[in-house]
């Protein structure tokens, strides 16, 4: 994995604004929360907020605006009354390959513009239009759209991030820093913004500021590859080689195949006089770099312009559908999702939106149906397995959920969520407690969070290992010292332990 796909230089201009869809882990998390919530009610509300944060993150990664708290919440059981809204109809795609890209680009922009027109007082449609313009190389228009968003809602953090990204692509890092800071001020939980801000600061040779920010990010997002790697870069530039080494080593711990981190590590180790470690890291770098270069060359040769435009156009329809669905205009939403799939039969963005929609309306069978389609389209994406597991858990189908989690782990053995969730299922059923403990420990190792400590504590307690449970809760407390619940639980457990020791 490389941080920056800068290697195909001719494609650079369009790649920067590429709209990749990330897999939400929402349903997988929901499953874990359901399990944990049943056992630790005190933790549930906190984890629920965690879930909200995850949802927000996943939406942001998809380029969507966050759900407006003030927007009418869709009823979990009933479809909104406006579902009879007239669906959009779309023209047939041109037969000529040469014309398809132009046609779809125009359709994408027109679609985003239509959403803006349909929701004139909302800020999110302008966000979609901004992303669309930016994707097709019109940064000036994109900038205006982000500004429009801010006119409608001056607290729209993503708009500041969008403006910052445009400023950064123009080399105006001063402006980028201002926008990123504003964005973080409004929403400190926005993913990747600190890392982006740090990169802009580094471009301005403000290394100490960048390092400080990245240290913060490392504390709040210990699994952020970007933060760890960039921390190495910042300290390397500051010639604080020991700290730089720690940064690169953290990045490698997160992604052991990350070639560039080995490169940084080799260089700082050499400068720090650690020649053996430098040589070892350089060897690794060369190994991974060769693979990367081959893969990129391959990718460059396989570059499918029409496919990329189809993907982007489908994405716009997917998000447009999401906005209509949220407003209760279900048929219109569905017509956009179907259009996305017509444009790109294997499209995942529209299907993800459909999953979210069905999930919101508690149509779990539909959720599972669409997720199965997603799994068939992307068999190597563990996220789909996690989501399927979550859906099965909602149906109380623990066996299927367990199987889904095992599939997720087969694809990604380092999935902390899958480990924790499996442990949660065993905890709930009371079966395989030994494996449950193993899984909880692995989850904690992969993601040292207080939630995973609590899970381990619960399993230990269930297995009769009160000292183990106490140790896990103590760790949770050290991770979240201000959480009063952990203190209370610890006291309860302490009392129970003392009681059990009395003859």
């Amino acid at each position: 994995m490389t941080k920056d796909p800068a290697n195909s230089k001719r494609r650079r201009a369009v790649r920067e604004s590429d709209t990749e869809i990330s897999r939400p882990r929402l349903l997988g998390l929901l499953a874990l929360l359901a399990v944990l919530g049943a056992i630790f009610p005190f933790a549930y509300s906190r984890l629920n907020r965690w879930r909200e944060r995850e949802e927000l993150a996943s939406r942001q990664m998809r380029g969507e605006a966050p759900v407006d708290a003030a927007a009418p919440a869709a009823n979990a059981k009933e479809l909104p009354a406006a579902q009879l809204d007239v669906p959009d109809t779309f023209a047939d795609l041109p037969a000529s390959r040469a014309e398809v890209t132009k046609f779809l680009k125009e359709e994408a922009i027109a679609t985003a513009k239509k959403v803006v027109a349909d929701f004139p007082t909302e800020f999110r449609p302008n966000g979609l239009l901004a992303i669309t313009y930016n994707r097709f190389g019109d940064a000036d228009e994109a900038e205006q759209c982000w500004q429009q968003c801010l006119t409608a809602n001056s607290r729209y953090a993503e708009a500041y991030s969008g403006l910052a990204a445009i400023a950064k692509s123009r080399g105006d890092n001063e402006k980028a820093v201002q926008y990123y800071r504003k964005s973080l001020e409004i929403d400190p939980s926005l993913p990747n913004v600190r890392a982006e801000l740090a990169e802009a600061l580094m471009s301005l040779n403000r290394m100490p500021e960048a390092a400080e920010l990245l240290e913060q990010e490392r504390r709040t997002a210990p699994t952020s590859l970007e933060a760890a790697y960039q921390l190495g870069q910042a300290y390397s530039q500051l010639k604080e080689y020991d700290k730089a080494i720690k940064g690169y080593e953290a990045a490698i711990a997160i992604d052991p195949n990350y070639a560039n981190a080995y490169y940084g590590l080799a260089n700082v180790c050499r400068r720090a006089g650690k020649t053996a470690q430098a040589a070892e890291a350089m060897k690794k770098f060369k190994e991974f770099k060769e693979t990367d270069i081959r893969a990129q060359r391959d990718q460059s040769r396989k570059f499918d312009d029409e496919g990329e435009v189809r993907k982007s156009a489908a994405f716009v329809h997917a998000v447009a559908g999401g906005i209509y669905a949220e407003a209760g205009r279900i048929r219109k939403a569905d017509s956009h999702w179907q259009r996305a799939i017509a444009i790109r039969p294997n499209d995942t963005a529209a299907r993800m939106q459909m999953v979210l929609f069905h999930q919101r309306h508690n149509r779990i069978a539909d959720v599972i149906r669409v997720l199965e389609e997603l799994r068939a389209i992307e068999p190597n994406d563990s996220g789909h397995c996690l989501n399927l597991a979550g859906a099965h858990l909602q149906l109380n189908d623990l066996r299927s959920a367990e199987s889904d989690y095992r599939s997720a782990l087969a694809i990604d053995p380092r999935s902390a969520v899958a480990c924790a969730s499996l442990a949660g299922i065993f905890l709930r059923t009371g079966e395989n407690l030994a494996e449950a403990r193993q899984m909880a420990q692995k989850a904690l190792e992969l993601e040292p969070t207080s939630q995973n400590c609590v899970l381990l504590a619960a399993i230990c307690q269930r297995s009769g290992d009160l000292p183990g449970a106490l140790e896990a809760i103590a760790r949770a407390r050290s991770l979240e010292p201000n959480n009063p619940n952990f203190r209370a639980i610890e006291s309860q457990m302490q009392a129970a332990l003392e009681k059990s020791r009395k003859p």
Binding site: N7, R10, A13, V14, S203, Y263, I293, E306
Partner: protein, 580 residues
């Protein structure tokens, strides 16, 4: 005699008073409200129209978008007739299949007639190669006292041997350096084995034929394919046998062991071990650093030494590279230009055989991100004793404006002023009207075209006329220009390093043949001295290790230092007539 020539000539004889007057006048102008209120001492003024240079570059395009169109071409500044005035040689493209341009483009040589007048002497000099030109280098490869030319082509390369009378003859066949039928790139003469004969390195780009042309589109817009779309090609190294013939030693020297996508190059003794190493940029493939073992055998150690990639370990769309000591620490550093969306890279020489990416901490990437950067040079425009950076810009996708408003096909060039402490500042907005025009630049070269002591600029623009910039920077600072004449070493002393010490200012330069973006300049080494009014010591490290020291060299003059001779010889004021 033109004003600038007068300045140069008078400057040599009565430097004190006139220099003070010039400096006062400049200072008044520089601070006059509305004229040049910014306190940037660098001023580049465009003089193209008055020079008589009518060269127009062609890339031979017809809309079929062959990759070779994007990378042509470099140029050279050198004194072909030995009259003391630097002349200009432009490399040109040629019509490619489908091109209906009725003109018959060819390379062109413009003789410097003095006073910013140039005359096209292509026909009479015999250097108007009509091949599809890519790069050029210059050196006296036969040690007969005149400058020879080597041109790389898409197709066979060409060696022009100087007859010493203002004419050249094509010596390619007899020398054996046609280098096959490849897509050529940067070229350089260097003495790989310190035998006094200049050997020849010829980089190659990719394996391309019209039949294997790759068609690409972006968002439906046609686009030139990139170097990853074609197989790579090894570079070539020729050993000079000393009898006018060269032998291909690519395989035995180690050079043939790597196939890549060569672009600009420069040769330099970066580790000061007494032999010349070879720096070749490779387009999106990781650069090569061929470390010389002293005997003319090389090993590519670019990755380990820190030259292959930028600080992130990324291979960039590398274009041109120059060499200079930007922080005056005595070690040669390297500046590499790159593609849009990437920063160029300043490789700081750590002095222990390793280089580190100092782009961010130095500010050397300022203003470059949106442009494809090509020709570049470490040039001390204002003679303050610190090497500034000049960067020629322009995209290679001629229709980029149609699908991106972040990048533009035509762009302004950049000047980054070295402000000391290892930092650069983008002064392009304040550095004169020469930085205003937008073109799609490729090669850029530098030389004292008007003999006023400072470095002027010539840029080859793709599909357009070239640009000539007169350096009108603050003349208050002192300078010295030095040429070397080798006896044991090659006559041009390619590979020799000169250190000039003036008080607390110590600067090092090396004589290169071939540098920047597939171009050549710099046979005369230019040292800015700032306010230092005397030179304490000049030290020459001839290739092979002999060290010669000369004390008390006069300032604001040109000197020739002969190998083994204890004193320097002032370079005579040019007669404007070719040498005998």
């Amino acid at each position: 005699m033109g004003l600038t020539q007068q300045q140069g000539a008078l400057g040599n004889s009565v430097p004190g008073i006139l220099r003070a007057i010039a400096a006062f006048a400049w200072a008044m102008w520089a601070v006059a409200p509305g004229l040049g209120a910014e306190k940037c001492p660098i001023r580049l003024h465009e003089v193209t129209k008055e020079t008589g240079v009518s060269f127009r570059h062609t890339d031979g395009s017809s809309g079929r978008r062959f990759i070779v169109e994007t990378v042509t071409a470099g140029l050279a500044v050198f004194d072909y007739d030995g009259d003391g005035l630097a002349d200009i040689y432009y490399v040109n493209g040629a019509p490619l299949p489908g091109c209906t341009d009725p003109s018959k483009p060819k390379n062109a040589l413009y003789r410097n007639e003095g006073n910013w007048k140039f005359r096209d002497v292509t026909e009479e000099s015999g250097v108007g190669d009509a091949g599809f030109g890519m790069g050029v280098t210059v050196a006296d490869y036969d040690n007969d006292g005149d400058a020879d030319l080597y041109v790389s082509n898409f197709g066979p390369n060409v060696l022009y041997r100087n007859n010493g009378d203002g004419t050249f003859r094509n010596a390619t066949s007899e020398a054996g350096v046609a280098a096959g039928d490849t897509v050529g790139a940067g070229v350089a003469f260097l003495d790989i084995d310190k035998d006094g004969d200049l050997d020849l390195y010829a980089a190659n780009y990719v394996q391309f034929t019209f039949e294997t042309n790759v068609d690409r589109t972006v968002d439906g817009f046609p686009e030139y394919a990139g170097p990853k779309d074609y197989p790579h090609e090894p570079d070539l190294l020729f050993r000079n046998e000393g009898n006018g013939k060269f032998t291909d030693i690519s395989r035995e020297s180690g050079i043939a062991s790597v196939a890549s996508s060569g672009m600009g190059m420069v040769c330099a003794d970066f580790d000061r071990d007494g032999d010349t190493d070879i720096f070749v940029l490779n387009d999106v493939a990781g650069n090569s650093l061929w470390v010389n073992d002293g005997s003319g055998r090389f090993q590519n150690e670019a990755v380990e030494r820190g030259f292959a990639f930028n600080m992130n370990g990324h291979e960039l769309g590398a274009m041109g590279v120059d060499c200079g000591d930007y922080d005056n620490d005595g070690w040669l550093d390297f500046f590499m230009t790159s593609y849009s969306g990437e920063l160029p890279v300043l490789f700081h020489n750590l002095g222990d055989g390793f280089l580190e990416d100092a782009t961010l901490v130095s500010g050397a990437g300022a203003g470059s991100l949106q442009h494809v950067n090509w020709g570049n040079g470490f040039i001390d425009f204002d003679h303050d004793g610190l090497s500034d950076l000049f960067i020629a810009n322009g995209h290679l996708q001629d229709n980029i404006d149609q699908y991106s408003d972040t990048y533009t096909y035509k762009a302004r060039n950049l000047v980054l002023r070295n402000i000391g402490g290892g930092r650069f500042s983008n002064v392009s907005e304040q550095a004169g009207d020469g930085l205003l025009p937008k073109h799609s630049g490729r090669g850029a070269v530098f030389g004292d075209l008007d003999l006023d002591g400072d470095e002027d600029v010539v840029i080859l623009n793709s599909r357009e006329a070239s640009t000539l910039l007169r350096n009108d920077s603050d003349p208050r600072n002192h300078w010295v220009r030095i040429e070397l004449r080798g006896l044991q070493a090659s006559r041009d002393a390619v590979g020799a390093q000169v250190t000039v010490v003036a008080g607390d200012l110590s600067q090092v330069r090396e004589v290169h043949s071939g540098r920047g973006y597939q171009s050549h300049w710099g046979s005369q080494l230019d040292f800015g001295l700032g306010s230092h009014d005397r030179i304490d010591r000049v030290e020459v490290r001839w290739l092979g290790g002999a060290v010669q020291t000369i004390a008390n060299l006069g300032i604001d003059r040109r000197w020739v230092i002969f190998e083994g001779r204890p004193d320097a010889v002032p370079l005579e004021r040019p007669t404007g007539k070719p040498q005998d």
